[in-house]
């Protein structure tokens, strides 16, 4: 038998969470936001996290993004820096669309010519050719959110330089949009995800959205946040898709009503 000389490097995950705990505050006021989360996301996988409001979805993303430190547990990332997209577009109001998108590249010290080429590419990927010189306030809500998507992609691609896996964390990015725009952006996101092959952790409280977008749906319980169940929903269409939505929604209702009793 051959002897493995190299340390086994995990290349089959974009991110792995092992027994992750997060407690806010101490003593009597302590809030256990996350209580032993185990989750692994494969490179290029699209995972949706679903749960009632306040169950710790944002906290989980913040931990992965490094904005907060876990109380205990371990996060293994195989990307140098995950990209984050928030519910608000969070674009810099004083920068043009182009300068907004290239900001993560500038911060990483990428040269001007390379930045310009990347921005062109990303603008056409989110179908915003020709808006590079506009400012965020001149755009509609849906357009701003696509600029934010392009910026996150720039950040994800930068974070996946030197052969690492790209990872995007998205925190209810479409929930502030009207239904028509949301529907179109969901289709856009799927197309962009297929085109770029980045892994996505997508947080939502909309079960329908989760089933439409995700390959896997993970249901979290509230206070403390734990993984209750998960479903493989890859490639479901028609009545299968509807059935999956019903099953997950029923389970979500069950989790929420267990709270009323407690």
């Amino acid at each position: 038998m051959a002897v493995a000389l190299e340390k086994p490097v995990e290349t089959d995950v974009a991110v792995r969470l092992a027994d992750l705990h997060k407690v806010f505050g101490t003593g009597r006021q302590a809030v256990v936001a996350l209580d032993g989360i185990d989750l692994a996301v494969r490179p290029g996988e699209f995972v949706c996290l679903v749960g009632a409001s306040g169950c710790g979805k944002t906290t989980l993303l913040n931990l992965i993004a490094g904005l907060e430190q876990p109380t205990s547990g371990k996060i293994t990332l195989t990307t140098s820096r995950p990209a984050v997209m928030f519910q608000e577009h969070a674009l810099m109001p004083w920068l043009t669309v182009q300068r907004n998108i290239e900001l993560p590249l500038r911060l990483a010290g990428v040269g001007r010519a390379e930045r310009a080429a990347k921005v062109e590419e990303l603008l056409s990927l989110v179908r915003l050719e020709g808006t590079g010189r506009k400012r965020p306030h001149e755009l509609s809500g849906g357009m701003r959110q696509r600029v934010a998507l392009a910026r996150s992609l720039a950040s994800a691609i930068q974070g996946s330089a030197d052969g690492k896996h790209a990872l995007m964390l998205m925190d209810e990015p479409f929930s502030a949009l009207d239904a028509i725009t949301r529907d179109l952006l969901q289709a856009e996101l799927l197309r962009v995800w297929r085109a770029t092959g980045t892994a996505v952790v997508f947080v939502t409280h909309d079960v329908r959205e989760a089933v439409r977008l995700g390959q896997r749906v993970v249901l979290l319980s509230s206070r403390p946040g734990r993984v209750v169940d998960q479903w493989d929903v890859d490639g479901l269409t028609g009545s299968d898709e509807l059935a999956a939505v019903d099953t997950i929604a029923a389970k979500l209702r069950e989790v929420i009503s267990s709270h009323a009793a407690a």
């Binding site: 993004a65 904005l67 810099m92 109001p93 849906g142 725009t181 179109l184 856009e188 269409t237």
Partner: protein, 303 residues
């Protein structure tokens, strides 16, 4: 009667829209949703709309002045005619003396303002980002804003005598609190999400300050600078007026002071007009365009 949940169950599932359909729909939505800018007036019309009212008001003022003077309601040495004042003014311009006064005062104000900027900017950053500093001296800095800096003239004269130092001291004490407070207000109103975005994109403390905090705080910072300039100009005039001495050279304040000593009303009015012109001029030439560019870029102002 069909039950509601049955209809949902049997509802035909819409197939994923084709890429081309999504394309068209997105384009249409962008065209419908993007905020439209109002009709633009031509440049000439905008300029005349901005210039004509104040010119009209100035003409009206001179006409009323002339009329009041013609009634001889006040003696000539208290209210001279507009043409007498204009003669004094023109005399200053012709002999070139006016440039001397303007240069002496304006260069002092500008130097004072630049030093104030250099002190107030780090002070403002510290006040905004360090809790202890804010708790300790925040109220003092806000309070200083409402203390007229003329009040410092006697102290400054006792400390530094009738020197340039006295003048700069008074100018600084007038401008620094305004600029620092403006910067603090600008930083306070930055949405907290922006520095977080910087952090997830890998910006360290310095990069965050340079690429995010300072540009985001710029509107408040500029407002503070504008007020700081107004305060330094006022304080300078007060200082020159009170602490006037031959060693200090002839600024506008001294000119005004001389007018008072000589009981020369045309000279006094000319002095006031010159001070006003500089104050308004710097505001119009420097701060108004800066502010316009900053606010327009952020969509904070309808032009």
């Amino acid at each position: 009667m069909p039950r509601l949940d049955e209809t949902t169950q049997n509802e035909k599932v819409t197939a994923e829209a084709s890429a081309a359909e999504v394309d068209g729909a997105i384009g249409g939505l962008d065209a419908l949703d993007a905020p439209t800018s109002g009709p633009q007036r031509s440049r000439a019309r905008r300029i005349s709309a901005a210039l004509l009212p104040p010119i009209g008001a100035a003409v009206l003022f001179v006409v009323v002045w002339q009329a009041v003077w013609a009634t001889a309601w006040l003696p000539e040495h208290q209210l001279p005619s507009p043409s007498t004042v204009f003669d004094v003014f023109w005399g200053l311009v012709e002999t070139g003396q006016v440039w001397e006064f303007l240069w002496t005062s304006v260069h002092r104000a500008v130097i004072g303002f630049v030093i104030a900027l250099g002190i107030a900017t780090p002070l403002g950053l510290l006040l905004a980002r360090v809790k202890l500093v804010r708790a300790a001296i925040g109220p003092l800095v806000s309070g200083l804003q409402s203390l007229p800096s003329v009040a410092w003239v006697p102290a400054a004269v006792i400390w530094f005598g009738l020197t340039d130092t006295t003048i700069y001291m008074v100018v600084l004490l007038g401008a620094v609190p305004s600029i620092a407070n403006g910067l603090v207000a600008g930083i306070d109103q930055i949405p907290p999400i922006l520095p977080r975005v910087g952090k997830v994109m890998g910006a360290g403390t310095l990069a965050n300050a340079r690429h995010i905090l300072l540009p985001a705080a710029l509107p408040g910072y500029l407002a503070g600078m504008k007020q700081g300039w107004a305060f330094s100009w006022r304080s300078l005039m007060a200082a020159e007026l009170i602490a006037s001495s031959p060693e200090l050279g002839d600024g506008l304040g001294q000119f005004l002071h001389n007018g008072m000593s000589l009981f020369d009303m045309p000279m006094v009015i000319t002095g006031i007009l010159l001070i006003l012109i500089v104050g308004v001029g710097i505001e119009l030439v420097v701060f108004a365009p800066l502010e316009k560019v900053t606010l327009n870029a952020r969509g904070l102002r309808k032009s």
